[in-house]
Symmetry: C2
Subunit: 197 residues, 2 copies
């Protein structure tokens, strides 16, 4: 390789992003250098800014720039509904659909015997505490229709049975599908047709 | 969207990289935030470092960290052979094959009537000057087997006819293929079987 060390380092780091391999990382870095002022420098600054300011909401696990995210800080969203999602990408997908007006709880993954992920590795203990603290009347389990997603939903339903109304997204979520890959209409339909568990 | 502005900015910039669309950019940014210390901060620093130090070699167009790149600065590579490539990705592909011991000339693209790219938009004028300055005995036109690549090769061959021996990569470059996507063995075979023009 004849690229300078600093560029090799950048290529190696870029290749660790999901969706980019070594070859596409090289292409991306050459593109960045061709657009040094318009893209490389702004991107370096945007990353440094996010690294400095972004943090997990202490209440729900959403990403924001303060200890409490804008959704948790918004009293208008304290309507007694809590939507449980696997990760922040799913929260963003729900928000894009614009149909849900309550608050979220980001688990940070799903239970997985295979990967050794147990309840304490996720934000499951914090979920129960929010029921009283925020006067939650219904928890909507908006988890993917995968085996791990459904295992997680049933685990949570077992834990909270009798303490709060529980529902899950039903119609529209394709088997094996993940929320982040659904269009807004499908998410809206699934939420409106949610079924009691 | 409920992502903070700083994260939206980062997603928008990432989506401008080749190979990443809006959705994969969002996934990549979430991955970056999950690996803040291990990936996001190092990447921000690597980009800033490259933005600050990387520049085009004044002689050949290769990317380095000085006015003259390591290949042009290496007297051992002044063997009278000059390999003309379209872009730096192709130079790196040649270097990975390890078979070429001379110097390079990076055109910065190919002639294209459609895109309005003429000889003065590429490093073609500088090429003629290097023949005497570096006692070049043979110029190898290592351009892609695309219409624009071959048009460019013929244009350069016409310009330099009688002033220097000219050859082109022949065997092994698939029709419509680009150098950067070839394996090392194919590049080696194509270089060894180069034919006079
Ligand atoms: Zn929150
Ligand atoms: Zn050079």
């Amino acid at each position: 390789m004849s690229a300078p060390d600093s560029i090799e380092t950048l290529i190696d780091l870029m290749a660790r992003l999901p969706g980019l391999g070594p070859r596409s990382a090289r292409r991306a870095v050459l593109h960045l250098m061709a657009k040094r002022g318009m893209l490389l420098m702004p991107l370096a600054e945007a990353m440094a800014e996010v690294a400095r300011t972004a943090r997990d909401c202490l209440n729900c696990g959403n990403i924001g720039t303060a200890d409490i995210c804008p959704i948790c800080a918004d009293e208008a969203r304290a309507n007694g509904l809590l939507c449980v999602v696997e990760d922040v990408a799913d929260l963003w997908a729900m928000e894009r659909s614009g149909v849900f007006k309550g608050r979220y709880h980001v688990l940070g993954g799903t239970l997985s015997a295979l990967d050794g992920v147990g309840p304490d590795d996720l934000r499951i203990p914090q979920l129960a505490r929010r029921i009283e603290a925020e006067a939650i009347s219904e928890i909507i389990l908006a988890l993917g229709a995968t085996i791990d997603g459904q295992t997680t939903a049933h685990y949570i339903a077992d834990q909270l049975e009798g303490r709060v109304a529980l529902s899950s997204l039903a119609q529209g979520v394709p088997v094996g599908g993940e929320l982040d890959y659904l269009d807004d209409g499908t998410i809206t339909a699934a939420l409106n047709a949610r079924k009691r568990m």
